[in-house]
């Protein structure tokens, strides 16, 4: 079926059902899209083998040396296959749509769950019997006690270990399995110079070391390791070039033969050396992106301000008559199709919360330039247009919106939005720059970014985290605080409801904030809610500090490090503070509107109208409102967030601030900076909802809690403008790790462009 005949949800269903979606502006991209979607997500154990081989050979050697050598070994093991129709070269996996997964982070759960991988409900993966056997008998046994999770387990009590993964209020399981994520590499630099620059620099730094300086021992390891990784990248490109040339020899179609020879010569130039054309630059953009997706285990390797750093190449080629806008469009579509091939490999537990394989690559257009002028150009339009043809889930295409955004670009973005695929996301530059100015800087501080750096390099990282090209590192998905669950704990004195998912049902899951009978004033109850939220944040933070330490000591990331500005001079790996701005662990709020509506309902029904006592509301929630239908109706009738009502919006603004200020007081493991708050997680409201009992806003047990920072489902009854005004009452600059709002507008509510 040709996917362009379908729209919105229907299209999504068709693609997810495995029907081939041959969508694209040209025959080439249609075929590539078909090839992508004809494959189901599958497991690739090449990386696992490479790591295991190196680690076995280097037993007892320094951790950084082993990590860097293993990373180099991965490049040496990558596939050199070239497929029909493609213009760009290289794949992270032996099969399309594979996950070349990080066994050193996942082995502990795979040990138990490998047999279910093909058939689990969320995100099943194909795997061959031989690979499964090799994993089970050889690779997993080597790694299962060495993962960060397995090591963290030795630092905490069994109860703490279980609570932080299955309690459902203060959760860090996502954080632990995603080392190497959320990153905008220094694209401008790597495209302009290639890896040869980092290779030469490392050699120069190595040569300048003084062996009588005590620090030189570790530094030598660092530079030697980087040199080895660079060489492996160089060799990979040469292998791919040879592969293209071989394929050209046997190709009978003269046009395709010409293309293959062009690809072979391109791979002689990039990514090792400088890009000389838009085509070269696209190849560097593609392979650096997947290098990072293979080296790191997490999501959100981000293309950042793609339309800015690619434009000089585009402009020069178009002016020289070497490239047409249509040709550029085709290359961008191919990038989108290729990057969609990167599926996210997650534990069964996390797939339940983040299901959908989506790995959050991200591409931004628009925004301002370093002088504060509108920065949009032809590529901004082409990037938005390419998604209307390619219709892939990845990357998240994003418009950085500001007062000077031209109407035509906004309209192009709205045309894409009207397709109903969830593209593009809109980011408000003013908010983004405010967040970057205070990034990781604590309550009253200022980040290390200069205004010029923010304007030139600042952009969101997928999903929504503010970052800057080559200047920031940190895993920004993080502790997940289910504030709906925390609110319920304020009624139950810290006890989780019975009969919901996860562990600790009917047991103390947070702390005892007071018996509801003693909470005789709204202020007392409100303090208990705030106390529960604070407790959950601090528990997640304490757990993540331990993991940060483990990651910094043993899970270094050479390719990430090379692609950070200044990390080589500082001689510091990304995980140990190599970036200018080091962020994370951060704190994500989940279920915001459920918390707000619950507090407002209790304020109205219990403390103002005195229609019930707090203990009765607790009993009603724990009984899932069975026998309490009248009370539920009263609670549901209370004002809800998202309707432009100050009664509840003031509570929202205050709780919003509370979460951010508690987070911003907590120190990070690296570099003496501070924790950032965020509202960023899509989907997770379903999983955490299933772990949460009935809430005082009338929501039944196990139903989804509110999504991101949006109003509770069906509770914003006054239309999108009233909802927007409610959202406008919150202070976004406090959420230095970003905020995400989902608004759904039915097609009948859309206005025709006039």
């Amino acid at each position: 079926m040709v996917a362009t005949e379908l729209k919105g949800g229907q299209l999504g269903q068709a693609i997810r059902s495995g029907n081939v979606a041959k969508s694209g502006s040209t025959k080439r991209t249609q075929e590539l899209n078909g090839m992508l979607h004809a494959n189901r997500p599958n497991v690739d154990i090449t990386r696992a083998r490479a790591y295991t081989k190196v680690y076995r050979e280097t037993e007892g050697q320094p951790p950084l040396r082993r990590r860097y050598r293993a990373a180099a070994e991965v490049y040496r093991s990558l596939s050199d296959r070239v497929y029909d129709y493609e213009q760009l070269v290289g794949w992270p996996t032996q099969r399309i749509r594979g996950a070349n997964f990080a066994i050193e982070l996942h082995a502990h759960w795979l040990a138990d769950d490998l047999p279910n991988l093909r058939d689990r409900i969320y995100d099943p993966f194909e795997i061959s019997d031989e690979d499964r056997k090799e994993l089970q008998e050889d690779l997993i046994p080597y790694w299962k006690d060495k993962t960060p999770t397995a090591q963290w387990k030795t630092y905490v009590t069994p109860e703490e270990f279980d609570r932080a993964q299955n309690g459902g209020v203060s959760d860090v399981s996502n954080y632990i399995c995603s080392n190497g994520s959320h990153f905008i590499p220094r694209w401008t630099d790597v495209i302009a110079h290639g890896f040869v620059k980092y290779y030469e620099e490392a050699k120069a730094f190595l040569a300048a070391l003084d062996p009588n300086d005590p620090q030189s021992i570790d530094r030598r390891e660092f530079y030697l390791g980087l040199i080895e990784v660079c060489e492996a990248i160089r060799d990979w490109a040469e292998r791919l070039s040879a592969s293209c040339a071989r394929k050209a020899e046997t190709e009978s179609d003269p046009v395709r033969k010409e293309e293959l020879l062009k690809m072979a010569s391109m791979m002689q130039r990039v990514p090792w050396g400088p890009a000389t054309s838009f085509y070269d630059a696209c190849e560097t953009a593609w392979c650096v992106c997947f290098f990072l997706f293979v080296e790191g285990a997490g999501p959100s390797i981000t293309w950042g301000r793609f339309d800015q750093y690619m434009y000089p190449y585009y402009k020069a080629d178009v002016e020289a008559g070497k490239l047409t806008p249509e040709g550029a469009l085709e290359l961008i579509e191919e990038l989108y199709i290729r990057v969609t091939s990167n599926v996210w490999f997650q534990s069964t537990n996390m797939a339940y919360i983040f299901g959908g394989y989506y790995r959050y690559p991200h591409l931004d257009v628009g925004g301002l330039d370093e002088n504060g002028k509108d920065a949009s150009n032809e590529l901004s339009y082409l990037c938005l247009r390419a998604m209307r043809y390619a219709r892939t889930t990845s990357p998240a295409v994003c418009l950085m919106l500001h007062q000077k955004t031209p109407d035509s670009l906004l309209l192009e973005a709205c045309e894409l939005a009207a397709e109903g695929m969830g593209h593009p996301s809109f980011f408000n530059c003013e908010g983004l720059y405010d967040m970057l100015e205070r990034r990781a800087a604590g309550l009253n501080g200022h980040s290390h970014y200069t205004r010029k750096q923010i304007l030139t390099y600042g952009s969101p990282i997928g999903c929504v985290e503010p970052g800057a090209e080559g200047l920031q590192y940190g895993h920004t998905d993080s502790g997940i605080i289910n504030v709906a669950g925390a609110t319920l704990c304020a009624l139950t004195n810290g006890v989780k409801a019975e009969g919901v998912d996860g562990s600790f049902c009917g047991k103390l899951v947070t702390y005892e904030s007071g018996d509801p009978q003693d909470l005789t004033t709204f202020e007392a109850f409100y303090a208990a809610v705030k106390g529960q939220v604070e407790y959950a944040i601090k528990e997640a933070h304490a757990n993540m500090l331990i993991v940060e330490k483990i990651l910094a000591e043993q899970f270094n990331l050479p390719t990430f490090t090379m692609l950070l500005e200044g990390a080589m001079e500082k001689c510091k790996d990304a995980t140990t503070g190599g970036a200018l701005v080091n962020v994370g662990p951060t704190m994500n709020m989940c279920g915001f509107a459920t918390m707000v509506d619950s507090v407002a309902a209790i304020k109205k029904v219990v403390y103002e109208d005195k229609e019930a006592t707090l203990a009765q509301v607790r009993d009603a929630c724990l009984a899932n409102f069975v026998g309490y239908e009248e009370l539920r109706a009263k609670l549901k009738a209370a004002p809800t967030f998202g309707n432009d009502l100050d009664f509840v919006d003031e509570i929202a603004a205050d709780l919003w601030k509370h979460f951010a200020t508690v987070s911003a007081r907590l120190k990070l493991y690296r570099a003496g900076q501070y924790c950032d708050a965020a509202v960023q997680m899509v989907q997770s409201n379903v999983g955490y909802g299933a772990m949460t009992g009935a809430t005082p806003n009338g929501r039944l047990a196990k139903m989804p809690i509110s999504d991101t920072m949006s109003a509770t489902q069906q509770a914003d009854r006054n239309g999108p403008t009233a909802a927007a005004r409610s959202y406008g009452k919150l202070d976004y600059s406090l959420y230095t790790n970003g905020t995400l709002l989902n608004m759904w507008i039915s097609q009948s509510e859309m206005m025709e462009p006039s």
């Binding site: 239908e629 109706a633 009738a637 403008t721 005004r725 206005m751 025709e752």
Partner: protein, 322 residues
């Protein structure tokens, strides 16, 4: 002194029909007409009214026990409401576990309505959005309606009025004074048929339209004539030709806006104890042949006037003297 209040049954935010841009529509309660196809029966009675949605009844029976006048009864666990006995005391509303009962209508001063509308100021700017007074018939409560229009206009909001024009010229003129656009319906050209379909004759309406078109353009007020196309009621060729002939003679070449019939209001009828009369099989879309044919007929008989289809396709230009 108590400020005058008007009964309003809905304030619709983020609407994009009945005027340019994003709009807030204020629905005034009470109407002098009784069009058989009325799409918003909550607007008919000028009084506060009980409305019940029996579709979502949980069958708890609490309203049955509560009401001494025996308005409510249960049949197969669904509530039956005998509105003829109801005194609209509204005591039953809080008792409903499914929250299916409501008071339709609420009293507002002009200032309160203005403040509601002013909240969305940021959203009006881009495409010249603003406030539309609708109903029911806004001019049945002229004091508040005119004061609201004055407040909006003097605060630089775009103002539209949707009216049946079944009112005195003085009131219509006073309201139009503050409007950027006035929408007037031409429901049927034959006075007798008009009386049968809407309960009132069309003489006063047509007179007002002629006078309004004389007076309005010079004041920066645009008039748009609307014809709701109701299959089997007013879509016969003769009626449309007569409408066109009438429109052709009007000053200022007002735009003609054809509205496709819809039955979205049908489920509101049982909620207030009314019956929906029209038996028209389907809602109309702009592209349906009935609409296209009607547009062709109109266009064939008016020379200068723009003919548009659908409430969201009126011309954005001619916004008046903003």
């Amino acid at each position: 002194m108590d400020e005058k209040k008007a009964i309003v049954f809905d304030i619709g935010r983020y609407r994009h029909t009945d005027g340019p841009g994003i709009r807030t529509i204020i629905f005034f309660k009470g109407c002098p007409l009784r069009c058989k196809w009325c799409s918003n029966p909550f607007g008919l009675s000028p009084k506060l009214q009980l409305s019940v949605n029996p579709e979502r009844c949980l069958g708890c029976g609490r309203c049955v026990l509560l009401c001494e006048r025996e308005v409510n009864s249960l049949l197969e666990a669904k509530v039956q409401v005998d509105f003829s006995k109801c005194t609209h005391c509204f005591a039953c509303i809080p008792s409903c576990l499914g929250q299916n009962r409501a008071i339709t209508g609420k009293a507002y001063t002009a200032r309160e309505l203005f403040e509601e509308a002013y909240k969305d100021l940021a959203f009006y700017r881009k495409q010249g959005g603003g406030v539309t007074l609708s109903g029911g018939e806004a001019l049945m409560q002229p004091d508040v309606a005119i004061e609201l229009l004055r407040l909006c206009r003097s605060n630089y909001l775009n103002t539209c009025l949707e009216t049946s024009a079944y009112t005195s010229w003085d009131i219509l003129q006073e309201a139009a004074r503050y409007c950027h656009t006035v929408f007037v319906d031409l429901k049927h050209m034959n006075p007798q048929t008009h009386r049968e379909l809407t309960g009132v004759g069309n003489e006063r309406i047509l007179e007002n339209i002629v006078q309004l078109c004389q007076w309005a353009p010079e004041r920066g007020c645009r008039v748009i004539l609307r014809i709701p196309i109701i299959p089997g009621y007013n879509d016969e060729e003769e009626n449309l030709i007569r409408a066109a002939q009438f429109i052709r003679r009007l000053k200022g070449n007002p735009e003609v806006n054809l509205l496709p019939y819809h039955n979205l209001g049908e489920q509101k009828y049982p909620m207030i104890g009314r019956e929906y009369e029209p038996d028209i099989p389907a809602m109309l879309q702009n592209q349906d042949s009935v609409m296209q044919r009607s547009k062709r007929i109109l266009e064939g008989h008016v020379a200068e006037n723009r003919v548009s289809l659908g409430g969201d396709s009126i011309a954005l230009t001619g916004r008046g003297t903003r």
